[in-house]
Symmetry: C2
Subunit: 339 residues, 2 copies
DNA sequence: GATTTTACCGAAAACGTTTTCGATTTTGTA
DNA sequence: TACAAAATCGAAAACGTTTTCGGTAAAATC
C-alpha cells in the first residue's frame, strides 16, 4: 500500500491540501475545529510526511555527514557515540563514512556528502591529508563544517580538540617528576596535528627541565598497533638500554610495549616507566595498569555536534558563523606503570 | 551561490531540460553531439544532481538504516565497518542509530528510519527486545530487512548469524578434551538468542561427554564488562574451588576473569582453563593469551549488506524476496589459556 | 518525388510538500 | 443596516528531477 499523503487527508475531509499542511503545522489561520479533524485523521491514517518532498521543498534534510579515519577504534567509536547521542536529541540523523586514513577517499566522501546535500559535516582528518581544498570547498558552499581531534589549523572552521601539547607536557613532566632521567617517545605519523603537538609537548617538557632532547629517542610509527608497540619495545631494549621512561602517543601501542617488556623481564615501573595516551579502558586492565592521559572521546563527539548544531541554526537565521576553537580538558590518570 | 541545475545547463545550451536529463543518463534518443555538449558543460559547471529531487521522483534514496545495540564495542564496530565498506562499493550511504540495548529506543528508531524512507534496514536486536511488531511493520511495508548477530528467529526476514550453539559446543569440547572435569559457564543475558544458543551448546557438550550439567556453575550477567569478569572470577574461587575450566560468553569478560585470576595466583591453564568468545584482538595480547572462538564481525557486516542489497535489487525488479539464513563459519583459536 | 523509417528533441505531468497571496466568510462596530 | 476588521480557507507556484508520449526533421527506401 502507498503511504498516506496530504492529498489523501484532504480528500477524506473535503478540504484543500494547503489547509491540511497548515493544520498539521499549527498555522494560525486554520480553525481549531479543522486542526483537530486533520490531526486526528492523520493519526488514524498513520500519516508520515514524505521526507523527500520536505527535503526538496525546504532544502534541508536534518542529516549530517561524519567522516572518520577508522571506526574500529575505541576512541573514535566513543566519539561517534557522542555525536549520535546528541544528534538524536536534536532530530538529526548521521551518515558515517570511513576514510581509512586515505586522503583520496576522504576527498571523494566529502564530494559524496555534498552531492547528497547533507546539512553539515563533521570530520576527523586522515593522517595523509595535507591539502585542504576539499574542506574549503565545503565552507565556500556555505555548509557548516566542524573538525575534531585530527584537525587542520589552516582551515577556517570550528574545531573541537584537546590541548595535545599541554597533555603531552604533563605526561612527560610526570615521568620526570617520578625520577626518569632518559625519556623516549613513541610518536605517531608525521602529518597529523595531534601527533606533532604531542611530540612538541614532550620536547618542551624535556627542555624546561634542563634535559637534552635526543632525536634518536623518538620512534615514529605510521600504524598505531599493538604489534608496533611490541616491536618498539624490543628495539629500545636493544638500541637504548639506558632509557628509563617512555611517553607513548597512544595506549594501544603502550600496551603492546608493556606486554613485550613483561616478556623480557623488564620491571615496570622500576626499570622503565611508561605513560600512555587516551585512557582506553584496557589500560586499567593490563598488568601493570597504565598511567595515561584521559582523552574524552564521548565528550568530544558531543561538543562537535553541539557546535555544528549551533552553526546549522545560525545559518537558518542567515546569521554569520564565526568559527570557534573548543579545547576539552584532559587529565593525567596515575596508575602502576609509573612510580 | 546556488548549485547548478538541469535548467541552468538547458538554458546555456538553449535546449530543453528533458534533453539535458536524458543526455546525462545516456538515453539512446539523444545525439552524440548534444550528449558531449551537455556532459562537458555539466562538468565545467560542476553539476551534481539534486538528491532530494531524485529521491522524490524515484522514491529511493540509496540510503539504508543500521540499528545496533552499542557502537563502542569491538565486535559491533567491526560489523559496522564491514557494512559501510560494502555499502560504499554499491553507492549506498548508511545511517547509524544506536539502541543502547533498549527495546523502546529501538522501536522509535525503526519508526524514524521508516519516516525518513530509507531503502532498507539492517538491525542487530537489543537484548530486551521480545516483541517484534515493529520489525514486522518494516516487512509489511515491503522494506527489505536483514537481521544479524542478535536476531529473532520468529521474524520472517533474512538473517546473518554464526552457529553459536555449534561454536559453544566446540569450545566446551576443547575444554573437555584438554582434561577439564568441572566446567563453568559465564553467560550473557537471558533473552538474546545467541546467549541462549551458546548456553545450549555448552550444555550439550557436557551431556554428550557424560558430564552432569550443574546449574550452579552457570553465572548470568546482564552487562558484558571487564568488571563482571573480575567479579565472577572472585565468586567462582569462593563458591566452586573445584572448577577447572570456564567457557565464557565473551572475550571481554574472560579477560576480566583472567586478570583477577592472575591477581590471586591462580595458574592458567594449569589450575583453571578458560575459553572465550569473539577473538577480540586483546585476547592475543593478554597474558596468558586467550583461547577463543573467532567470530567474524567484518565478514558478518559484509554479508548482511550483501543480502540486503540483493533484496533491494529484487524489489526494484518487482521480484519476490525469499528470506535467507546465512550462517558464517567460526573457528577455535587455541592459545595459552587452555592446555 | 513520394513515402516510410529512423533519429532526435521537447512539452507536460508527476513526485509531495511548503508558502505566498488573494478571496471569501464571519464577526464586530458604528 | 452598513461597513470595517478578523478569521478562515484555497489556488497556484515552486523545489529539480524523471519519463512518457507525441512531434518534427532528416535519412533511407521505393
Amino acid at each position: 500500500m502507498k503511504p498516506t499523503t496530504l492529498k489523501d487527508i484532504a480528500e477524506h475531509l473535503d478540504i484543500s491540501v494547503t489547509t491540511v499542511s497548515k493544520a498539521l503545522k499549527d498555522y494560525p489561520d486554520v480553525s481549531k475545529k479543522t486542526k483537530a479533524l486533520v490531526k486526528e485523521l492523520a493519526k488514524t491514517l498513520n500519516y508520515k510526511p514524505n521526507a523527500f518532498a520536505v527535503n526538496l521543498r525546504t532544502e534541508t534534510s536534518n542529516t549530517i555527514g561524519l567522516i572518520i579515519p577508522e571506526i574500529v577504534h575505541h576512541f573514535f567509536s566513543s566519539v561517534i557515540k557522542g555525536i549520535i547521542s546528541q544528534a538524536e536529541k536534536k532530530g538529526y540523523l548521521v551518515i558515517i563514512l570511513q576514510s581509512n586514513e586515505s586522503y583520496e577517499l576522504e576527498k571523494k566522501q566529502i564530494d559524496l556528502l555534498l552531492s547528497k546535500r547533507v546539512d553539515g559535516i563533521l570530520i576527523s582528518l586522515a593522517n595523509g591529508t595535507a591539502d585542504f581544498k576539499h574542506l574549503n570547498d565545503v565552507i565556500e558552499q556555505g555548509k557548516p563544517l566542524v573538525m575534531f581531534d585530527k584537525i587542520a589549523k589552516l582551515v577556517n572552521c570550528s574545531k573541537v580538540i584537546i590541548d595535545d601539547r599541554k597533555a603531552a607536557y604533563i605526561a612527560t613532566q610526570h615521568l620526570i617528576d617520578t625520577g626518569c632521567k632518559r625519556i623516549a617517545h613513541f610518536r605517531g605519523p608525521l602529518l597529523p596535528q595531534n601527533s606533532i603537538d604531542r611530540f612538541l609537548g614532550y620536547k618542551k617538557a624535556l627542555e624546561d627541565n634542563g634535559m637534552t632532547y635526543d632525536a634518536s629517542l623518538v620512534y615514529i610509527f605510521d600504524d598505531m598497533t599493538f604489534e608496533v608497540g611490541e616491536m618498539f619495545a624490543k628495539k629500545i631494549l636493544r638500541e637504548h638500554p639506558d632509557v628509563d621512561g617512555i611517553f607513548v602517543n597512544t595506549d594501544l601501542v603502550a600496551i603492546g610495549a608493556i606486554t613485550e617488556f613483561n616478556r623480557n623481564g623488564v620491571n615496570i615501573p622500576e626499570d622503565i616507566s611508561i605513560v600512555g595516551f587516551s585512557n582506553w579502558f584496557m589500560s586499567s586492565a593490563i598488568t601493570p595498569s597504565l598511567t595515561t592521559i584521559d582523552q574524552p572521546g564521548f565528550e568530544m563527539g558531543k561538543m562537535a555536534f553541539k557546535q555544528l548544531y549551533k552553526e546549522l541554526k545560525a545559518k537558518k537565521k542567515k546569521k554569520p558563523i564565526s568559527p570557534k576553537i573548543i579545547a576539552l580538558e584532559t587529565s593525567l590518570v596515575k596508575r602502576d606503570s609509573t612510580k
